[in-house]
Amino acid sequence: MASGLTRGPAVYAISRRIGFYVLTAIAAVTITFFIPRVIPGNPVESVLSHAQGQIITRQTLHALQLQFGSNTTEGLWGQYVHFWSNLLHGNLGVSTSNGMVPVAAVIRGALPWTVGLVGTATVISFILGTLLGILVAWRRGSWLDTLLPATTFFQAAPYFFLAFLAIDLFAIKLGWFPPERAYGQLDFPAFNWTYISDVLDHAILPALTIVVASAAGWIIGMRNVMITTMDEDYVLIGQAKGLPKRRVVWYAARNAILPSISGFSLAIGFVVSGALLTEIVFSYPGLGFLMLTAVQDADFALLQGIFLVITLGVLVANLAADFVYVFLDPRTRQEA
């Protein structure tokens, strides 16, 4: 089955997707470039007014003006080129809310927390939701169907509301888990068990919130696809062949997973957004929290940087999903 992956059509399919993602990245950068220039108001002034008490060198001022396009002598195209060249050098500007530290450094500090929490929670949620969806579809007409409206509630409830509930219930009232942060305030980051277990302890509640909030979507999605798939002739033939039930379910699920993976690509943006909000409620030191402070302190450079990093992450996740899809569906490896 894997032999097809290196064949022409598969490579072609993936290359097309990569091309599209590059295009999207360019679009994202361009949009980020234009927003401060299109929106009414003077972003640089806002930045300056919020950055009271900080020392702003002439260089920094010039850099800000270039980045946001106000009061600068360079033409639009020149600014755009400058923007890109900075970007490609890893220069995302200077974070005015964090003591003029480079944005890239600030993001680098927060990124591992987000990747760890959101990444793991999303994967767990997808796997769990998919398996439950298969179960609910297979056991149609049983009591499991009555759970479906409940899952719509969880799907509709905002992530941060569930986070509030989780904290109130599990952290405050029951005291099972810590209510905020990624590790105890008196802890020092180190690679020993106390630190790691503390991190895990703090991560459980936010992760649980993300999983509960997003699993509902996977469950319902997978259930719907499974039901449609179970109507296919090859599933009936599977039954006609007298195959054990588990085999027949596997045959159906193996096909149903494909649209589900496409759905994953679509939903990843939503899940990431929701996860960021959850981080904020938990004061988890990831990108979400960073985003909040950036907004409050009008640190536009940081805001832009975070947006670009998140977009990049989503694109990478999409690419991974595409690889999985091509691996699982032999039809994509055929000449169109």
Partner: protein, 363 residues
């Protein structure tokens, strides 16, 4: 062939029988929305919220922004005077809850409307015209689909000066720009499949103009999907607007459920157990969302008949008054046709000199 029965089980049959009689054109087939509990709950809930949006601020006992005390600095728990307690600024939470629905619902519906219009224009055009137009429009849709919506909106609203951030319609418009892409894709796919149907071809051959074909042959058949797409986008609008308000990105002086959650966060509500600050608004958003999702669910089942309860479970059979229902399996088992032995109504499917139905027996 008009088929208009109201029981669930007839719906399932009808859908299969439609396969046997493919001659009926889509226009003549009349299908009705099933009257299941999901639809009723969703619909009544939604209507209740819409009513609330209109009359909310008028029936609120107090002005939502009125502060009741300048000496107390902690949020007060629910009491007789303030049914849901007060905020940290000593404002009545209940009044805020009633008044806050308006902007949330308004923004969400504006977003839904604009996004649906955009998705129809892009999706149907891409599906109907095909070729280069399709390629470009599809790429545009995919672009907006992939760009993470909330971070983008945070950037936009972050740069937006606060004065602009209180215009609900503008907010709705901006949210719509990030939310039209999904509907466009679905509509495009559906238009593509409809375009190849016979009655569209025949309309084209008899010389109907493009836009007339779109208007009269294609659009009517897209209505269920349009409705689903609209509801989905409104749901998205509710969630997104609440999130933006929660982050303090839209004018905080404007009462909204998201804004209430923002202040709850500021007051450290979850850490200190001030549950009346975050449960009412959060629950309101969740319930509104659930009603929308339930309605959407029902429309999904309407569009795809297979999603409705298939076959005959014991419960349904009993409801339908079938004798011998006890011998049915409790739930639907794939791949094993149930055998139901019931005595048929007299004279129905037996000839006068016919074979005896009980011929053959059981074992």
């Amino acid at each position: 062939m008009a088929i208009g029965n109201s029981t669930d089980l007839d719906r399932a049959q009808t859908a299969d029988l439609l396969e046997l009689y493919p001659n009926a054109s889509a226009r003549r087939r009349r299908r009705r929305l099933p009257r299941s509990p999901k639809v009723l709950i969703g619909l009544t809930g939604l209507l209740a919220f819409l009513v609330l949006a209109v009359i909310g601020p008028w029936i609120a006992p107090y002005d939502p922004s009125q502060t009741f005390s300048t000496t107390v600095s902690f949020p007060q728990p629910p009491s007789a005077a303030h049914w849901l307690g007060t905020t940290q600024q000593q404002q009545d939470v209940f009044s805020q809850l009633l008044a806050g629905g308006r902007s949330t619902i308004l923004v969400a519906f504006v977003a839904g409307l604009i996004a649906t219009v955009l998705s129809v224009v892009v999706g149907v055009a891409a599906g109907y015209f095909g070729g280069l137009a399709d390629d470009l429009l599809s790429m545009l849709a995919n672009l907006f689909l992939i760009l993470p919506a909330l971070p983008l909106l945070i950037v936009i609203f972050g740069f937006l000066p606060p004065s602009q951030g209180s215009d609900d319609v503008l907010i709705g418009l901006i949210i719509a720009i990030t939310g039209w892409a999904f509907g466009a894709r679905v509509l495009r796919a559906q238009t593509l499949s409809l375009r190849t149907r016979d009655y569209v071809d025949s309309a084209r051959i008899t010389g109907e103009r493009g836009w007339r074909i779109i208007g009269f042959e294609i659009l009517p058949n897209l209505i269920p999907i349009l409705a689903s797409s609209f509801l989905f986008t409104v749901l998205y609008g509710v969630g997104t607007y609440t999130a933006l308000a929660f982050l303090g990105l839209v004018n905080p002086n404007h009462v909204s459920w998201g804004g209430m959650l923002f202040y709850a966060q500021v007051a450290g509500a979850e850490q200190s157990g001030y549950w009346w600050l975050f449960i009412p608004p959060g629950l309101a958003v969740a319930l509104l969302g659930t009603c929308l999702a339930l309605l959407n669910f029902s429309i999904d089942e309407f569009i795809n008949p297979r999603l409705r309860a298939a076959g005959l479970s014991r419960r349904r059979a009993r409801r339908a008054g079938v004798t011998g229902a006890e011998r049915l399996p409790r739930r639907f088992v794939l791949g094993v046709t149930p055998v139901l032995r019931s005595v048929p109504p007299a004279g129905d499917h037996r000839g006068p000199a016919g074979e005896n139905l009980s011929h053959g027996g059981t074992r």
